[in-house]
Every structure is written in structure tokens, then in C-alpha cells.
Amino acid sequence: MLIDFMQREIVVPGDVISEKPEHIENTYIYSNKTYSKVLGIYDAASRSLVPLEGSWKPRREDSVVGIVTEVRNKVYLVDLSYFGKSFIVVGKYDEYAFKEGDIFYGEVKDIESRKNVVIKDAKKLDGGMIIHVKPKKVLRIIGKKSTMVRQISDITGTEIIIGLNGIIWLNGGRMDLAIKTIFKIEQEAHNRGLTDAIKSYLEEEIRKEVI
């Protein structure tokens, strides 16, 4: 893709994004100008402002990974590493029953009172382990059309399920290397050409092991 990288810049809250009022995500309009609300990267070509930091803001259909913390009548309270109350409602045809401490993945069905998250299609994840990453780095860990996560999975042989809420479940293969790689991506998420850089990193690490 051809992007003039001079047009991409790091902006901070209060920076002017446009001299006229425009509706761009993560901005606000004040006195007929458009200002950034966040520390982020603004791409003038696509007129998008992507936050570099911050907590997860749930939306419908977001895939999430979490832990069941409390079993109540017809409801499982869960921990998504997020400040709002989150729960799975037990439906008529749900095949899985959870107990406290179970790890699951699912999808956001709804957001209540602007902060409480209702989860649907929850499936239990057996074995493996979870790690926490910054939610704003998750999309980079997944990569365009899942290229990034697929290459980690292919090279390490680890099964990886990523929640947009910043919790990642891993199982099998070279889990240690998969985790190290994910944290490396988290650190360098703002860099370009990362998919290739990570590929060489993984191959180098594997090669070292062989020697």
C-alpha cells in the first residue's frame, strides 16, 4: 500500500486535527475546529485517528476472552479486565455450563447502561493459559486479515485466541515464544513493517534453538 508516511503523525489531546469542523473518530469540535481527544496516530490521507493507548471500549460483535468469576441463577458474572459489569446470560439451548475459574471466549451481544457487557455464544477454553495486553495493541497483534497472529501460530505451533478486551488465550506448541512475540508486538505496535520484522524475529528465535 502506498502511504505518504509524512502524513502520519503522533498527536496528543488538544492538537488541532483540522482547521474546520469534521467528524472523525477520537476527535471533538470546538470553535469550528477539530481537535484530538487522545494520544494517537493521525493519518491525514485516510483521515483516521487511531489511539495509541487506552482501555477497551466494548462494541457489539467484539470477540472477547474472559474468566468466569461467579455463578448465579441463569447468569455467569465474568472478568473481562474491564470496569463495567460483564456477564453471560444462560440461554435455553446453551450447551456449555461454566464453573468459577473457567476461561471462555465469546462475543459481545449488547452493552447496557453504556458500560455493562452482555456476552453471547460463550465457549469454554480448556487448558492453556491467558495473558493480558494493552487493548489498543490487540488489532496489531491480530494483524491485517489475521496475518500477524496466523504467522505466530504457524511458527510456534500454538493455538491463539485473542479478545479485543486485551486478554489472549494460548495453548500448546512453543507457548513461551508465542508469548514473547506477542509482548514484542505490543511494545512496537506503532512501527510499520512489523509483520515482516516479527517473521524474521520468530525464524531467528527458532533457528537459535536448533543450533
Binding site: 500500500m1 502511504i3 508516511f5 509524512m6 502520519r8 503523525e9 503522533i10 496528543v12 489531546p13 488538544g14 488541532v16 477520537n26 471533538y28 470546538y30 470553535s31 481537535y35 481527544k37 487522545v38 494520544l39 496516530i41 489511539p51 495509541l52 493507548e53 487506552g54 482501555s55 470496569f83 463495567g84 447502561s113 453504556r114 458500560k115 489498543k136 512496537e188 506503532h190 512501527n191 510499520r192 513493517g193
Partner: protein, 251 residues
């Protein structure tokens, strides 16, 4: 403030201040963004001999729960001087009346700057710890806390900065150090929103004409350009690889 006339040191020698600065000159300011891992956001700031840590937690669940506001986040703020922070004796731990008041006015600065309605029903906490104090700690603390908030990703209208202006004899002077603070009669800490120069914190005591007050505000806004630039530099530095130019690496 309004210290004694006993043993009052000379604050101006040959037209320069005790530390060699001009009247409108800031001390050196250096900010490091995100030095702490556990906090949602953090900043470390050295401003002259002031050494300050600021950290942000949240948005997270409100404690105690009945304080929650379903329309917006509530903000909690603590400004505190460490017991070892001053050159004089060991300080009492826990907030005194001065720290309580400063915590309140600092909180009000960030109630303005943070877009609290983005996080209904949650709580955001700001902690400002003065590890070493040398005058102007509230201004330095606000400047650091703004950077800490930005690194937490919390949505804000602006990145406020703060600085104080005082009066030595008949002259206004920017950014008092501790000696100047102790032996001068007027001090005006201010916090300002750089996008529109709105004054978010303003405290004053001493003796100033209204014309001097107007000039003090202008001096703060002028100095703000340097302070804002350092806040931005510290934030952008986080995302630059060592040895690379200011631009992001091209694909």
C-alpha cells in the same frame, strides 16, 4: 508565603536571579512518559530540583459503589509531599490542609480537561507524589499529571500545563524556586489549557496590581509554549525507536 524579613537573602544579583536565571526564564524541565508499569498511565518529571511522579489508575470500578455517577466518570486526586521531600525536617505523612486544598484545585483542573462522560459509572484516580520539592510543586505536578493521563489513553480536551509567576521586589518573575518562594511576597500558580488559553487553576496571594496580574497571566502563557513542547516531546518519544528520525518508519 510572606516569610519573615529576618535574614532575608538577596534574590537578585546584577539583574539575575540566585540561580542565574532571567526574570522570564523557566528552570530546566524534563519529562519521562510512562515510567511505571502497573498504573494505567504515568509520568516522571524533573523541573529544576523538583522531582515528581504522577500516575493514573482507571477507568475502573467506583469505590465505594454508591458514589458512582451513571452519566460520567468520577475523578479522585491526591497531591502529596513525601516526608523526605524537603530540605527541612522530616515531614508528617498523610495529607495536611495545604495538600488537601491543592488536591482539590488540581482535581478541578482535570475535571475540565478529561472527557468524563466517555466513562460513565467509572472512577479515574490521579496521584501526584512530590519526591523532592523546590518550589512550584503544584504547577510541576499538574504538568506531569497531564502527561500521565495522556499515556493512559483517557480521552481529554487538552493537555494542560501549569507554572507560577511571582514578584521579587517590584518585578514579576517566572517559576519561583524554593528560596524565592520563601522570601517573596506574591505567588501566582496557574494551570492553562493551551488550545484556548483558558485558565483552569489560579491561586494568588500577596500584593499585585490588576495590571501586574494581567502581565502574570501573559508570562505564564508565554512560558507555556516551552512547557507544552516538553510534554509533547516526552509523549512522542515513547513511540520512536532509538536512532530513528522524528518520523515514523515508512513501510
Amino acid at each position: 508565603m510572606g516569610g519573615s524579613s529576618l535574614n532575608k537573602p538577596t534574590l537578585v544579583i546584577n539583574g539575575k536571579r540566585t540561580d542565574g536565571r532571567d526574570f522570564n526564564e523557566l528552570r530546566k524541565i524534563k519529562i519521562t512518559a510512562a515510567p511505571l508499569e502497573n498504573a494505567s498511565g504515568s509520568a516522571y518529571l524533573e523541573w529544576g530540583n523538583n522531582k515528581i511522579l504522577a500516575a493514573v489508575y482507571g477507568p475502573r470500578e467506583v469505590n465505594p459503589r454508591h458514589l458512582a455517577d451513571s452519566t460520567k466518570a468520577i475523578l479522585k486526586c491526591r497531591y502529596a509531599m513525601a516526608p523526605f521531600s524537603s530540605l527541612s525536617e522530616h515531614g508528617r505523612s498523610g495529607p495536611n490542609r495545604r495538600a488537601t486544598e491543592i488536591s482539590k484545585v488540581v482535581k478541578e483542573v482535570f475535571e475540565n480537561a478529561i472527557l468524563l462522560s466517555e466513562f460513565p459509572g467509572s472512577q479515574i484516580e490521579i496521584y501526584i507524589e512530590i519526591l523532592q520539592g523546590d518550589g512550584g510543586t503544584r504547577a510541576a505536578g499538574i504538568t506531569a499529571a497531564a502527561v500521565a493521563l495522556a499515556t493512559s489513553g483517557i480521552q481529554m480536551r487538552d493537555l494542560p500545563y501549569a507554572v507560577s509567576v511571582g514578584k521579587i521586589g517590584e518585578d514579576l518573575a517566572l517559576d519561583f524556586n524554593m528560596i524565592e518562594d520563601n522570601y517573596s511576597d506574591s505567588d501566582v500558580p496557574m494551570a492553562i489549557s493551551p488550545r484556548n488559553n483558558e485558565v483552569l487553576l489560579l491561586q494568588m496571594d500577596g500584593h499585585m496590581t490588576k495590571e501586574e496580574m494581567s502581565k502574570a497571566i501573559d508570562m505564564a502563557i508565554d512560558a507555556g509554549k516551552i512547557i507544552s513542547a516538553e510534554q509533547r516531546r516526552a509523549l512522542k518519544e515513547l513511540y520512536e525507536l532509538r536512532g530513528e528520525s522524528n518520523h515514523l518508519k515508512g513501510e
